[in-house]
Amino acid sequence: MTHSVSRRHVCGGLLCMGVLRLVAPANAQGQGRPICRFSIDGGWSNDAPAEYITRRARRNDVSGVPQVVERIKGELGIQVDFDIYIAEEEDNAMAAVANGRRILIVDVGFLERLNVIAGTGWGAIQVIAHEVGHHIAGFSAASHRNELNADYWSGQTLQRLGAARTAATRAIMAFGTEVDTPSHPNKYRRAATIERGWDDASRGVIDYAFCMDCR
C-alpha cells in the first residue's frame, strides 16, 4: 500500500522538510502515514486495530526481506510460502498464522539499527531466521519454549549461511533481556540455544527436540 505525502504539506519549506525529515520522521509522516488497518486475526479491515504495517512485501522487495527469507528457506530445505509485511515503528519482528497463512512482519528500520548496535550485519538475519524458525518449530502455549525453538533454528540457519558463531549471538546479546520476562527467556539462555543450533549445524546434526511440528 502506497500513500503519497506532498512535501509542501508538511512544513511548507524545502530546508525545513529536508532536515526535519531526518530527525523527526514521525512528524513528517503523521499526516499521511500509511497505517493500514491490519489485524493478525482478521486480516485487513476498517474495524481492526491499527498496526504500523506499511505494506506487503513484494517478491523482489526493496527491503530485501523476501530475498533473505528465500535464502533461509533454501538453506533449511523448506518449501513454505510466507506472507511478508513491512512494518514501521514497531521495533520488533513477528511471526503469526492468520487465516491459514504464515505471516512474517518485519520492521526493517529496526533491523538496520539493530545491525549498527550489534556491530554485525548478521543481527538482522538472525532476527528474520528466528521468525522463520517459529514457523518451522510450530506454535504452542509455552512462550519460552517457542522462543528457544526459534532461536535454535536461527542458529542452524546462520551457520549454514556462513555466519561466525560469535556473530550469530550478537543481536540477542545486544537486545535480549538480562532476566526472563513472561514472554521471553533471558538473553543468556537464548544465546546458548542459538549457539547450540549453530554447533549442530556445523556437525550436520538437527535436534528435533526444538521442533514441535517436524516429523
Binding site: H3, G12, V19, V23, V62, V116, A118, G121
Partner: protein, 167 residues
Amino acid sequence: MIIGYQRCSSDPRECRQSGDARLGARPRVGRYVLVLSLLFATHASAQSTCGQAVWQLQQYAINVNGIASAEYYQGIPARCAGNPICMQAWLGQLNAWYVQQTALVNNWYAQLVLQCTQQGPGNRRLGRRPGGDRPGEIDITPIEDLEIDDEDRAVRIRIPSTPNGFR
C-alpha cells in the same frame, strides 16, 4: 497467535512506546541522499542576496547531514566496537546535536523567508513562481511528491558476505 523477536510481542504498541527509550531517539541520517537530491539550490538563485543566503544555508544543512551520517555509520560504530551501551550513549548525543541543528536551520530559514518576502522586488526572486503567483511565495514546483514507500529504499537487509558481517 503472534510471536515477536523481543519482549512485548503480545502488544506491538508496547514496543513502540518503549522503543525510543531502549534505542535512544535515532537520527535517520542514512536518508540524506534523498534530501540532497531534492535540494534545488542553483547558482541562479544565488545571484540575489536572498538566494545567496538560502544557498549558504543549504550548504550548511548538507554539512550537518554529512557529519551526522558519517558519525552514525562510521564514527560511532568504530569507537564503540559493538558495545551497545557505548553506542546508545553516542547515538543519544548525536541525536541531541542533530535536533539542535535542525532547530537552528529551520529557524534561520523561517527568518530568511520572512525577511526576503518583506524586501523589494529585486529580492523576490527567492521562490517566485514564473506563473505569476503571489510575490515572495516559495517556489515548490521543483519539489517532487514524496512516496512513503521511498523510505524503504534507504534500508535494505542483506546477508553479509563475511562470517563476522562487519560493514
